[in-house]
Symmetry: C2
Subunit: 354 residues, 2 copies
């Protein structure tokens, strides 16, 4: 398969992105190809060392600069900043790495696209160019939380901040397929994020979504869940609006950091030796519950494989994202989603109700 990587995405681009891509090559199949997308000269410049070592010279071929059988560079001189407004910026910067990657995917020249850049721009560009899967109304970003009770997949964490009930139903389906086939969870338990477990709790969208999900007997639905349940092994999949999901994602990040800071502070106040002893324990927890293991978040519902990584991604994250996108593609997750949604009647019900 062909995997396009945004060489300019994230806070550590291009160094860490390129390192991650190079690290992954040895772990891919021989006929897999990586396409680094970014300002040509800058990217090639950053590749210098391995090229010299292999004594190869890049070959120009249309827009591609071919480094070797498994690696090429596609020029994308425009750079989108992490905080630029997505839609306007995409319109202005038509030669940005994100826009170029989306076009590669549209033309069938890339089976997967990966970026640690501006999330909003990624969602907009990928959705616009790659289009949705048949039967999917809106794509959603699915992220895996490594919890004490096992991995929990949360969808959506920011693609769709004005969800309709049908969107939440489809997130339940898509994240369920993902959880089962990529994380190996047989019959994943699905929970709907709300503010109380009773049927009557939640806003109107949540209440309607609850009815839709409940009516699909193929979903192992546990009903409404609350914020605290994410870490209690209550479910394997959490469905929520992109606004709420984004708050959950970032709150978790901030709280873990804040709590470790507080623990460190207390330990230092106690005894330096105790703090030193605690350090490896913290490191082990960080490693065990490290979302970098999963590479990044998947944009589910897109006609292709699209992965969005954290802005602070290091080479290991990018390497894992490449491997995860390969697995997503190989396991034919999209085909499974299409098959599931083509058989359900729930799409029609909601369209009538809306």
């Amino acid at each position: 398969m062909r995997i396009a990587i945004d060489a300019m995405g994230g806070d550590n681009a291009p160094d860490e992105i390129i390192s991650g891509a190079l690290e992954s090559i040895g772990l891919l199949d021989e006929d897999d190809e990586l396409i680094l997308v970014g300002p040509k000269e800058l990217v090639i410049d950053n590749l210098k060392l391995p090229i010299k070592k292999n004594k190869k010279t890049p070959i120009e071929n249309n827009q591609y600069t071919i480094i070797n059988n498994q690696l090429s560079v596609v020029d994308a001189p425009d750079i989108i900043g992490m905080d630029e407004p997505p839609i306007e910026t995409l319109r202005k910067k038509v030669k940005s790495s994100i826009a170029v990657m989306a076009k590669l995917a549209k033309r069938g020249r890339a089976d997967a696209v990966i970026s640690a850049g501006n999330t909003g721009a990624c969602v907009a560009a990928f959705q616009m160019r790659m289009r949705n899967l048949p039967s999917v109304n809106r794509p959603g970003i699915a992220v895996v939380f490594p919890t004490f009770e096992g991995p929990v997949t949360i969808c959506d964490v920011g693609a769709n901040i004005a969800c309709k009930p049908i969107n939440l139903y489809q997130y339940a389906v898509m994240a369920g397929v993902y959880s089962k086939n990529l994380l190996g969870i047989e019959n994943p338990k699905v929970g709907l994020m709300s503010i109380g477990s009773e049927d009557a709790k939640g806003n109107e969208v949540v209440k309607k979504a609850r009815e839709l999900i409940k009516s699909d007997k193929n979903i192992n639905f546990v009903g409404n869940i609350e914020g605290r349940d994410i870490f209690r092994g209550v479910c394997d999949v959490v469905v929520c609006d992109g606004f709420v999901g984004n708050v959950i994602l970032k709150l978790t990040e901030g709280l873990v950091d804040g709590l470790f800071k507080a623990i460190k502070h207390e330990l230092m106040a106690e005894k330096l030796r105790l703090a030193m002893k605690f350090k490896p324990v913290m490191m082990r927890i960080y490693k065990k519950y490290d979302y970098n293991e999963y590479g990044g978040a998947l944009l589910l519902g897109i006609n292709g494989t699209a992965m969005i990584c954290h802005g602070s991604s290091k080479s290991r994250t990018i390497k894992n994202a490449i491997l995860a996108s390969k697995k997503y593609h190989t396991e034919k997750i999209n085909d499974r989603i299409i098959e599931y949604l083509s058989k359900t009647s729930i799409r029609t019900i909601d369209e009538q109700a809306d």
Copy 2:
């Protein structure tokens, strides 16, 4: 002042509630009165010990059973369960402790009401009977998060799950007054919960609320904040929709528990001795960042003082809630809110826009 306490609210009622009330009496002024509301015989039965000690006999006086100058019991035989649907249950159980407390407040017989019971029922009953403060469209629940960088007040955490921009603006005002006058934070920094710091980020309600808050030059507005910023000292007040706030509240609770569980597990695997040494550190952190210190959450915008405590409240929480409600009343927080909102023109602007 007269403070009514729901003797039947929460998982540890009535024992812990009554203990908390009794503990607080010594810390109140001599002319302060506590009113325990619940099934009369059950409550009096639970009071037995201290009454016998004081050799006093309860005196019946209308619906009041007077225990002593500072303590009375008001009969409320109906009990509302923690998970019962609020509105319907209030309609059916007119003699529940929550309904009776709300009526006491309405008739001016209680200056403050405190419950660790069904939050939805509290919000509905207090709002219905006590009414809103002049100029306040919808009350909001404000909770204080003790963070590493200091206390952060979050409003709303569950009273209003379908916020309009004007509600969010008023939460900014009310939580700001609270933060300044009760927590002693001079010119508190106010942040609006969203999914990115830029103006363009967030749903329509958040975008409009941002304009409203921004236009009030008396608010020290830091703009949009993200989930991670709560624990980073970015602001002293966080404004959000009740649905989002409720998820934040419960997620934080669950994550802290989950993380401590993970740390304990790792420490046990390492060395039992290390785990033993870490225990006092954890206890100190729990104590330092313990929301029980603040007693509970305040229902801001209500014409009176209403405090809603966590369902798992122990006597210490109830005692602190009683002291906090006293401070809220003494500091005339409601008068300050009324004064602020009567001077601002922002109410009118939004009503025209809506």
